[in-house]
Symmetry: C2
Subunit: 338 residues, 2 copies
């Protein structure tokens, strides 16, 4: 591992995500500069809208994974900067389109881009960022990277369409749910991690291990996201709660609560999620039912199973500080409260 990346610069950090941000600080700066540069266009609305969303922050988990998984194998960080920007562009494009599809009003604590700039602009600027991501990959010049990221993009879209088809459908099975989140979330985590060893020309077993690591933390990440959407404590830190419920998304806590639901409870879910007939107090009832059936614990158990697999995936990866942080990141993703 590159010594520049091995040196821990701060001992007061509290999470592995922050540790990664500090360790990869210089590289993240290069990625942010690349993002800012490549979202420019002669058409002013494009950088206006893109920077509105990108400046709003977000955890930058995906580009950070690309950087870390390249540094882990001492790969070419200049290539990693460009490809981490690609990954973030693809992610940003999907966020813009998601917010249109879900008719969202908030994103990262601000009015979402579709509210500020309109659905039309969100769709088209998403398309631009997506195309720009491919232009960046072409500049990089690796067909293998292009294969990985075009594959991930197709699978993301498939996952999103599957989610749309499952919406308001109480028959959605655990398998359907897992397929949706593998597509919409885990596939880009997997691709973000796989790009690292590909840049560093690692063997196929190593590349697969890192891809699987990304896939498994992506699954855990999305399950926790779906659990947190029913966690009222989150409102205190300014996050919205109940978005999935309002949109009729059938997520893991609901699937588990439904498994042992009484006839009356089934009627409740039928009315609120399938028939989209919701009253203001319904979210509270949903939270109570999820709690009654230990659906948070049940979801956490499944997230932990994915986490355990992710840690196994790291088994044959060379020892070092970065590996330790990636290991700790697994538990952090599962235990996070935001």
């Amino acid at each position: 591992m590159n010594s520049a990346h091995a040196k821990k610069q701060d001992n007061s950090v509290s999470s592995p995500l922050e540790e990664l941000h500090i360790l990869m600080h210089e590289d993240m700066r290069a990625v942010n500069a690349m993002i800012l540069d490549k979202m420019q266009s002669e058409v002013p609305l494009i950088p206006q809208l893109a920077s509105y969303l990108i400046a709003a922050g977000g955890k930058r988990v995906r580009p950070l994974l690309t950087l870390s998984c390249t540094a882990l194998f001492d790969g070419d960080m200049t290539r990693a900067h460009r490809l981490a920007a690609c990954v973030e562009f693809i992610h940003t494009a999907t966020l813009l389109h998601d917010d249109v599809v879900d008719d969202s009003t908030k994103r990262r604590g601000k009015d979402s881009a579709n509210i500020v700039f309109g659905n039309e602009a969100s769709v088209l600027v998403g398309d631009f960022l997506f195309s720009r991501a491919f232009q960046l990959m072409v500049e990089d010049g690796s067909l293998e990277v292009l294969r990985i990221l075009s594959g991930a993009s197709a699978i993301i879209a498939e996952g999103e369409v599957l989610q749309l088809s499952a919406q308001n459908n109480l028959e959605t099975s655990m398998d359907d749910y897992l397929k949706v989140i593998e597509g919409k979330t885990a596939s880009l985590f997997a691709a973000a991690c796989e790009v690292g060893p590909v840049i560093a020309e690692q063997d196929s077993a190593t590349t697969k291990a890192m891809r699987d690591y990304g896939m498994n933390i992506g699954m855990a990440f999305q399950i926790i996201d779906d659990v947190l959407d029913y966690n009222s404590a989150r409102e205190k830190i300014g996050k919205t709660v109940g978005d999935d419920f309002r949109e009729g998304k059938i997520t893991l806590p609901v699937i588990i609560a439904l498994e042992n639901a009484s006839a009356e409870e089934k009627e409740f879910w039928q009315r609120t999620l399938a028939n989209k007939d919701q009253k203001p107090e319904d979210l509270k009832t949903a939270q109570k039912l999820i709690s009654k059936h230990n659906a948070v614990e049940g979801s956490l158990k499944i997230a932990k199973d994915f986490g355990a697999k992710a840690i196994q995936n790291l088994e044959n990866i060379p020892k070092g500080q970065l590996k330790d942080i990636l290991k700790n990141l697994v538990n952090f993703i599962i235990e996070r409260e935001y």
Copy 2:
């Protein structure tokens, strides 16, 4: 040129577009099979929606250009089939997104996909087709083709965003308009034509000539489209008229009619296009003003200038039947009434 492509199979054909379709019949069949195969997905809504739009027909001009421009230089037609399918996928994705952005209700004489399947599905299936196009390019394996088509995709999105910014803005200049149509339409025509000589490994002058040919016919094609949108005769053949007017798009006929508009006429355009305050009889008035200021003739003149350039672009291309048809196609695009 390949003799299989040189043989004219029917003497009763009436347009160069039909001639191309007949000449490239076998190749178009392969392209259609490729399209059908590659739009498949485990998620049923994807082929349902995609086939709804693709089965509705359309002129298939763009994939036909890729096929013709490959056959013209005796290039590998198997590669051309795949890349023509890519071009059609990119085009289809932009149609799906356009109809969402424009809130369209009709496409190719049927209810548009956003009406039948919803805006959400149209956005996401568009994303899928777009990603699938890139996967197909990766299968082809040419970074040069990837560069051309990712570049075209970014420029299409830029053109669409520029159009959105110019909408309802009477200050839109002729230059703004030309930039919009170059982006949203001509850039994909240019790319569709450029791919041919790239497959056939032609020199850069030839490749540029074919790219420019595509760009120039694309400009002419869109100008004529915009003229036809004010041509009431078209209603007789089941086409809609007045879409651009209703959406407040500032197209060439309007720009020309505005140049010499009286104060009263300017008020009319201001009310109908800028303030979006339209009455049912306003389209007729718009058509009268366009006629009064010879704006159809003025638009045709500009389309013909692009057409003349397109014919010049073919100057150094090897003689043959395909070249003759591509030459005749230029006038057909300008003289078409549908």
